[in-house]
Amino acid sequence: MNLLLEKLKEVLLAVLPITVLVLVLNFLFVSLSWFLIFRFVIGSFLIVVGLSAFLFGVSIGISPIGNFMGTFIAKTNKLWIVAVAGLVLGFFISIAEPALHIHALQVELVSSGILSSGSVVITASIGIAVFLSLGLIRIVFNVALKKLMTVSYGIILILSLFSSRELLAISFDASGATTGAMTVPFIVTLAAGISVLKRDSRSSENDSFGLLGIASAGAIISVLLVGLVSTNNTMEAAPVYFASESSEILGYFFDLMPRIASEVLLSLLPILLAFLLLQFSSLRLSKRMLRQITVGLLFTFVGMVIFLVGVNGGFMDVGREIGYGIASMGNKSILVLVGMILGLVTILAEPSVYVLTHQIEDVTSGAVKRRIVLLALSAGVGLAVALSMIRIAVPAVQLWHFLLPGYAISIVLSFFSPKLFVGIAFDAGGVASGPMTGTFVIAFAQGAASAIEGANVLIDAFGLISMVAMTPIIALQILGLIYKIKTRKRGVESSG
């Protein structure tokens, strides 16, 4: 019982800050209707329950599957199996990701149909597939992550010189969207499952991370490429309509349920199928392990559904209202400040963040503490949202003004930061852009954009995910540098 309570406490501490912040904002700046507040509180409650169940399910269900799969793939000792496994897993995992489909639909709107949603989904999935495959091959052949990242982002840089700002935002966001809450734990543990085999424990530790970052880069490249070829760079933003509010409180949540449940089921399906295939072809786990994984998957499913219902039903409209309210006050510095605090606290409630930070503790035997990684992540995302608010408030500031230097800095840092942190950092980029940011923070940005003249709701909200995916890479690599310096000093002291 102790253990379940502890999980619940952990999650409560993660969700409480955002809940308190919204309520404070409500009394200070924007007064929301009681109806919205009530829904928000119910939403928070659902998020706490859902997140606890989800995380529990991941730790006993998805993570073992990823580990088994990674080890199995590597042990075949056949290059083509590693390559094909990467391609197949990558493609199906990302094509089943609900966030990608939502993103693709918005892209179709923005591009007035030139980029159909189907083509965006397939393009991004192919990108993920190819790069996941490359990422797996990198691990087994001991290729340094920074080399692969430098080449990938070099290509992205060259491509982005030719692409319009809309296309740039769309591609970066597509990569953020594909690395959803289901994908992240699976990919992270897949990498760990392979690298745990390595004899050299240092490289075993280092190579546990980075696979997610590589996969994300793949989606950016593929969408940029296809976008450049098919659109001739012309995109016009179309007007957007938001769904109208339902007036029943509880009914609202129930209405969301079936759609979300089927989405979550779909995103879980590739992992489940891959596991069944493995189990019946060669793995043959013990009965107890099978039972554990089944229960884990069940918890993952139920938890994610409850979580998403909470976020969509309780948080989205509130985010939009607050964004609108604060932006229409006309004081831009308050908007930037609130954006920053929002970013700081929202990331704490992001499911994948837990998965990654726990994985980090496991791999490093607790040497890299969760809390410190959380701090860096939080600072990074806070900065990202603040910069995005500046972008919305000041039309002259463009997304690429931040993105390109940001990624340039990330690459340069990767040559100085410890390898372990380079991997963690690029993974964290994919992790930060999960369902919580994807709904709540985006809704906030959309709300703000709709209140400011000259800001375009969709274009400006696009690109937010890109920012959130980029800043943690920098923040965590800086953390790595600090670690490097600190541990060196400590070594001197103890030998003196």
Partner: protein, 222 residues
């Protein structure tokens, strides 16, 4: 350093505590004049019907290894017992194993004060089993069947003479699991026999078992 043949001058302290408490153990150790320790991550068994129903069979643990001379070890164990409340269930356990010699630490202190503390009767023994990854569960099951209260599992790598190999460009070592079980002395042999029989340890390549005497122990279930 002249070491007494029968009574060892040093103790290796094992403290198995819940995840996140390892640093606290080290802090208490430091307060008792010990300069350092090593923390490993492990998994402990869970014996709650409710949790097992939720397929929760394991809980993350931290294992802290500390070397100390006899006197410090004793006071540290008492401090740990007091501050970490080891007497309550699920707060962790701590026990010591004799070691003969230590190199590489100046701060253990000369052990001249070690007086003829009469050889205490050994009540517990530490059974360590090293098996291939995935087999720890069977080891624990076998031990529990024979009356053990549980065990701690540590992930490890390693290999016998024939096992090293390469996959692609990676040199690999087979994954292992280390199972540590503290058992009452009179139960040790039956537990070990059961494990030997169940995991066919006597066949080559199936794993190894070794047994050490435990000095003082706190937090063990009666």
């Amino acid at each position: 350093m002249a070491s007494n043949k029968n009574i060892s001058p040093y103790k290796l302290i094992y403290a198995v505590v819940n995840f996140g408490k390892g640093s606290e153990v080290l802090r208490i150790a430091r307060e008792n004049g010990i300069s350092g320790g090593t923390i490993l991550l492990g998994r402990g068994t869970v014996r709650s019907g409710l949790l097992n129903f939720f397929a929760l069979y394991e809980i993350r643990k931290e294992i802290v290894l500390i070397v100390a001379n006899n006197r410090t070890a004793k006071s540290l164990l008492e401090a740990l017992d007091r501050e970490m409340m080891l007497d309550r269930p699920d707060h962790g356990i701590a026990f010591t194993v004799d070691i003969q010699e230590v190199e590489g630490s100046k701060e253990l202190g000369c052990n001249s004060l070690q007086e003829g503390r009469g050889e205490k009767e050994i009540m517990y023994q530490l059974i360590t089993v090293i098996v291939d990854r995935g087999k720890a569960e069977e080891v624990i099951d076998a031990a529990t069947e024979m009356g053990s209260k549980g065990g701690t599992v540590i992930n490890a790598r390693g290999s016998g003479v024939h096992e090293r190999s390469t996959l692609f460009a990676m040199e690999i070592e087979p994954e292992k699991e280390i199972v540590m079980i503290v058992s009452k002395k009179e139960l040790t042999q039956t537990i070990v026999n059961k494990i030997r029989e169940k995991l066919r340890i006597d066949e080559p390549g199936k794993g190894i078992i070794f047994i050490q005497d435990v000095g003082d122990a706190y937090g063990l279930l009666k």
